[in-house]
């Protein structure tokens, strides 16, 4: 691009004082949203901390009942057994527990798992997060790219048979919950047609293969991730298609599209720089909100396929009332959602020159 620098040289600016700098920092967009984000995270953390303790039962009772029913122990025996494993005192006031939690958190410590004695929560999260990030992240990417491309095409050529077919399919599929899609796939392709063995799609990787950066290991990971990924993609693509279609149609009504056509621009250019780029803007925010889903994982799908991700772990933590693990996972999800929203704002600014971050701050 040919640079055309402004004709006037930049005026020499006086060196800002410390107070001036602080004032600027306070006014800056990033500072503001980071503070807002921290407040949000703190609020969600506090709420989850007390709300999960309102659920019936606590990890201690769950374990005692488990020991009583499974090993036939008396209540006293079970109580003693449980007390010996857990370093958790259910009778300690919740407010004091909260104080301990915040204190540890400030030191970067997420605490120890209650039910899996001796395992730090952070370690659990780090072990399972990559599986979820990989499977859901890739699916969201695929379904967003494919969905917006399809939505753009059917919006551009609306009324064609292609549009009718895709819109009908997208409407149907966006109305079905993911676990129903999963069940249908298992029933139709697994049970009826026997395209795959149901037992072989459960888990994250073939346990007989030694973990290494080998083709075999990676292939196995992909093979096991295929089914959950297919379901994530199918369950979210319909929404992307329909959202992009409506956004495309409203963009097509803009005057600048007619002007671009009258200028004799190639169709390719109009589709990408004119229709696509403008229609995409409202969808960026939706994508950011989806990031929470990426991190949290789909609890039901991961449990169905025994996929070793964060979602399945959250499920296990909830059934076992493992407060610290639940807190840890919810915290990670909250941070991811807040961060991705800030990121979405920055991306929008980059894509849409009309949006200014410091809107209303300057006179």
């Amino acid at each position: 691009m040919t640079a055309l620098s402004a004709s006037s040289p930049p005026a020499a600016q006086p060196v800002p004082t410390l107070r001036e700098r602080l004032r600027r920092l306070r006014r800056s967009y990033l500072f503001k949203v980071v503070i807002q984000g921290l407040i949000t995270i703190l609020a969600v953390m506090t709420l989850t901390f007390f709300m999960i303790r309102q659920m019936p039962g606590n990890p201690f009772q769950v374990r005692i009942e488990d020991l009583m029913t499974r090993q036939g122990l008396t209540y006293e025996e079970a109580y003693r057994a449980a007390a010996s494993i857990f370093n958790f005192d259910p009778d300690r006031p919740a407010l004091l527990q909260f104080g301990d939690y915040i204190g540890d958190l400030l030191q970067g410590d997420l605490g120890m798992s209650i039910t899996k004695t001796g395992t730090p929560v952070a370690e659990l999260i780090l072990r399972y997060l990559p599986w979820t990030l990989f499977s859901i992240g890739l699916s969201v990417l695929i379904s967003f790219t494919l969905g917006t491309t399809l939505g753009l095409s059917i919006g551009y050529w609306r009324g064609s048979w292609f549009d009718n077919v895709v819109t009908t399919l997208a409407s149907i599929i966006s109305g079905i919950p993911d676990y129903i899609i999963a069940l249908l796939i298992i029933l139709i392709f697994g049970v009826q047609l026997e395209w795959f063995k149901i037992g072989q799609v459960r888990g994250g990787v073939d346990p007989t293969i030694t973990p290494a950066l080998s083709l075999e290991y990676i292939g196995s990971i992909l093979q096991y991730a295929f089914m959950p990924m297919l379901i994530y993609t199918l369950s979210s693509i319909g929404t992307w298609i329909l959202a992009m279609k409506s956004s495309t149609i409203s963009t097509l009504g803009e005057d600048y599209i007619a002007v671009a056509q009258a200028r004799g621009l190639p169709q390719r250019r109009i589709l990408s720089a004119y229709v696509g780029r403008n229609a995409m803007l409202p969808l960026i925010t939706r994508l950011a909100i989806n990031v929470g889903f990426i991190v949290g994982g789909s609890v039901i799908i991961e449990e169905m396929f025994q996929y070793p991700g964060l979602g399945r772990n959250l499920y296990l933590a909830i059934t076992g009332r493992d407060y610290t693990v639940m807190q840890g996972i919810f915290l990670v999800i909250t941070v991811a959602v807040v961060a991705s929203n800030i990121l979405a704002d920055l991306v929008i600014v980059w894509l849409d020159p009309r949006v200014r971050l410091d809107k209303g701050e300057e006179a």
């Binding site: 005057d255 600048y256 009258a262 004799g264 720089a273 020159p353 009309r354």
Partner: protein
């Protein structure tokens, strides 16, 4: 002004356009014929819904999907003398023709520019689409921006939202001349801007036209603007050109009852407190147009023959102008009296 009246750039014959509506076919433009000469400015005047905009979209073949050109021809003569019928063009040929031979300044400049692209991108992509290099495009654009009295370098690097409405309209005007077309169609280019901006745009347009010698098809509701800028004026009513001729003939020696009514309905400062005359009724249904002269239901000069027989186009002054009215003599007498 150097009017090379011998060279016809655009020759439209019997052009008819209709829209498919639920109730039937809307005959939005019917049997329109006119010639546009090199350097000539033709103003199209008429009420909303008379088919002006449809006619213009047909001239660049950018009609909506539910519209079709039913008959007629649009003959365009290139600078090298080749003449083609636009209706024979395929999509690719049409794309190349657009903007490089005939460009268009749309109404509503506020939305005519892509909000996410800089003016420089608009210039480069327009040039690239028609095989003009970046350096050439840059030089031409900067010259044109200066000619339309813009701060060329600043505007070149601006986004649309950083400019005022008047600036955007001038950017569009400059952009429309980037590929040096022979024809520029202007669809109410001054309606969305204030009176001072309108004044400056008209001045710029007149100056550019004198320098670059292109032809203009100018659509306007504003008769004063049309009178100022046009060489030729065509009055449209219910999809037809009912009168066309040199600007002074049409405005001061109107030969069609509708033209005269339209002029009487325009406010004039000199008229003082006189009440404005309006035309009773509204334009006819174009799905089932009335028989005879389409204007007869609203016409003050109506005669029995107007209700049954469509008036033929009659040329006057050895072909300088034409009008289709049964009562030309009475209308002309009233128009002369008025001046």
């Amino acid at each position: 002004m150097s009017l090379d009246m011998n060279k016809v750039v655009l020759s439209v014959r019997d052009l008819s356009v209709s829209y498919q509506a639920r109730r039937g076919r809307v005959r939005a433009v019917s049997r329109v014929s006119f010639d546009l000469h090199a350097g000539e400015t033709l103003a199209l005047i008429g009420e909303s819904g008379c088919g002006k905009s449809t006619l213009n979209l047909a001239l660049i073949r950018q009609l909506p999907k539910n519209a079709s050109i039913d008959s007629g021809s649009i003959a365009y003569t290139y600078r090298d003398g080749r003449t083609i019928n636009l209706l024979d063009f395929d999509k690719t040929a049409m794309r190349r023709y657009l903007w490089s031979e005939c460009s268009m300044v749309f109404q509503g400049a506020l939305n005519s520019l892509n909000p996410v692209l800089r003016v420089s991108d608009l210039v480069y992509e327009t040039a690239a689409a028609h095989g003009i290099g970046r350096l050439e495009a840059l030089t031409r654009a900067l010259t044109l921006f200066e000619q339309v009295r813009l701060d060329a370098k600043r505007v070149f690097n601006s986004y649309p939202h950083e400019m005022s409405g008047g600036m955007r309209q001038r950017v569009l005007l400059a952009l429309s001349l980037l590929l040096r077309p022979q024809i520029v169609i202007m669809d109410e280019p001054t309606t969305a801007v204030d009176i001072l901006t309108q004044r400056s745009i008209l001045d710029v347009l007149k100056q550019l036209r004198a320098e670059l010698n292109f032809s203009v098809i100018f659509i306007s509701h504003d008769l004063a603007v049309a009178a100022e800028i046009a060489d030729t004026v065509a009055t449209m009513y219910a999809g037809e050109i009912v009168e066309i001729g040199p600007v002074n003939d049409v405005f001061y020696r109107s030969r069609h009852a509708y033209t005269l009514s339209l002029l009487n309905a325009a406010p004039r400062l000199s008229a003082g407190a006189e009440t404005l005359e309006s035309i009773p009724g509204s334009p006819p249904d174009l799905i089932e147009p009335p028989p005879g002269c389409k204007f007869h239901e609203r016409c003050a000069y109506v005669q029995p023959i107007c209700r049954t027989t469509p008036p033929p186009m009659v040329a006057y002054d050895s072909g300088a102008g034409r009008a289709a009215c049964h009562e030309t003599a009475r209308v002309l007498a009233d128009a002369r009296q008025k001046v």
